[in-house]
Amino acid sequence: MSIIQVKNVSFEYFKGVKVLNNINFTLNKGEVVAIIGQNGSGKTTLVKHFNGLLRPTKGEVLINDEDAVKKTVAQLSHTCGYVFQNPDDQIFNSVVTAEVAFGPSNMGIKSHELKVRVNEALRTVGLYEERDKHPLDLDLNQKKLVAIASIVAMRPELIILDEPTTGQDHAGLLRVEALINELRKNYTVIIISHDMNLVARVASRVVMMCNGEIIFDGSPKEAFTKNALMKKTYLKPPIITELAQSLKGFKRDVLTVDEFMDELKTKLKK
């Protein structure tokens, strides 16, 4: 079942300058889609159409089979939760719980139900212990989690994570990766990322964008073997994939160290 259907969508900020060019894309329930491509390729512009922050110049966007044009951003946010890249662009409350409650209370959720949702969201991201702190006292890793929790508390069907690992250290990275694996049980997830290791580990599908067009849509394994396309978008597959690709006779779609070792073992047996 599809949550989002994008049909022949083009978008221009200024007349004649196409930021998106004839995009067709269907997002199915339960997928974890990674949208990759260099800055300015149209990734963020595309996902901003999913919750109505941008409206197509041409074509249409259907959210649960309904035309998105007819709904406000606030209404669409019930279905599509969008976590922005920089948590500092949204945090304004003096307590973590209040920050997380902002979204659901905008939806009209009150008292007990609100509390339940906030606590649940904080547990999901692993910040329950930090709930009474001032967001400014949290480190960069944790601030990002507050931003994610504040969307999770709205219980949308789809959660969009824009550059979830930017500015994170290794511990933050692992936390985000684990969180995505947690979210995928209940939500459809889109990640926009430059971090190919993350993409390799969590994505069920990869959409590659370049100059406002989708130039590839398929599995991560397939994506990382498309060397010409990857090069065009200045992306490099994970180092383990590169290693396998540099060795004669190895499979080209190795994504993890485990897969690499298996491949090596079969080669050694021969």
Partner: protein
């Protein structure tokens, strides 16, 4: 010859209880490429800001010990004087653009203007610098129109133009896309080859393993200083300080466990490739 020396340096920010850095002892040789690693909050940024004198002159706090940079004592030297010895670039490309000029040329010239460099010499330096960073045809453009990677290059160039012997880079690529990261890393590599002392904080282990002479692991103090192949393969040590080793090292560990390899653990792509090619022959 040592160009930077830290002697029992400690720093505590005003209003904070703990020491962000304590008992730092480190000597850096002229022309060295030093990699700085550590988790968030491990004091890397503080360390990077100290050489330009932002600590102790810009931030309030308590300092102990001393830092000698290019022959001068940081505590007794003003930031503007230090800026001709140390160039500092940090994360956000846009925030480093002063906006003092409307074009890239003027942005680059800003430091020279402040130092009172004569007109002709200034123009020559700007031209040379634009060439060095590969933006010679963009001089008249607004720096705000550039991509993140190019902006970061301009930011680095704008301190480099003041002719420092030491370049300190605090996570210069953490906000850039892969292309931008590559552009900046290429530039740093080039500068290092020209003999400039580089001190770079980054968690890009693969890059450091190739180009750094030594790596310093921070966790509010210096935990260890060693060569990349020693420190980046010390799995236990990295884990203890919330960092991780690269997949290259992981493969070499597994090869060792399987008895297929018995030398030092590896961190370099090409080294590992050679070993495996040897195995499958």
């Amino acid at each position: 010859m040592d160009i930077v020396t830290f002697k029992d340096f400690s720093w505590r920010y005003a209003g904070y209880r703990g020491w962000t850095l304590s008992n730092i002892n480190l000597s850096i040789k002229k022309g060295e490429f030093i990699g700085i690693i550590g988790k968030i909050g491990s004091g890397r940024t503080t360390f990077c800001s100290s050489m330009l004198g932002l600590i102790p002159h810009f931030y309030p706090g308590l300092m102990e010990g001393e830092i000698i940079v290019d022959g001068v004592n940081v505590e007794k030297t003003s930031i503007s004087e230090l800026s001709t010895r140390v160039g500092l670039a940090f994360q956000s490309p846009a925030n480093q653009l002063t906006g003092a000029g409307t074009t890239i040329e003027e942005e680059l010239a800003f430091g020279l203007q402040n130092l009172g460099i004569p007109y002709k010499e200034m123009h020559k330096k700007v031209r040379d610098m634009l060439k060095l960073i590969g933006l010679e045809h963009f001089g008249k453009r607004s720096p705000f129109e550039l991509s993140g990677g190019q902006q970061q290059k301009v930011a680095i160039a704008s301190v480099l133009i003041m002719n420092p012997k030491i370049l300190v880079l605090d996570e210069p690529t953490s906000q850039l896309d892969p292309l931008g990261t590559e552009q900046v890393f290429d530039m740093v590599k080039k500068l290092s080859k020209k003999g400039i002392t580089i001190i770079m904080s980054t968690n890009n282990i693969n890059y450091l393993s190739k180009f750094a002479d030594r790596i310093v692991l921070f966790d509010n103090k210096i935990v260890k200083v060693d060569t990349p192949d020693k420190i980046l393969t010390d799995v236990e040590l990295l884990r203890e300080h919330a960092l991780t080793h690269s997949d290259i090292t992981e493969v070499s560990i597994r090869l060792k466990k399987m008895g297929l390899y018995n030398k030092e653990l590896l961190v370099d792509f090409d080294d590992l490739k050679k070993v495996i090619e040897g195995l499958i022959k």
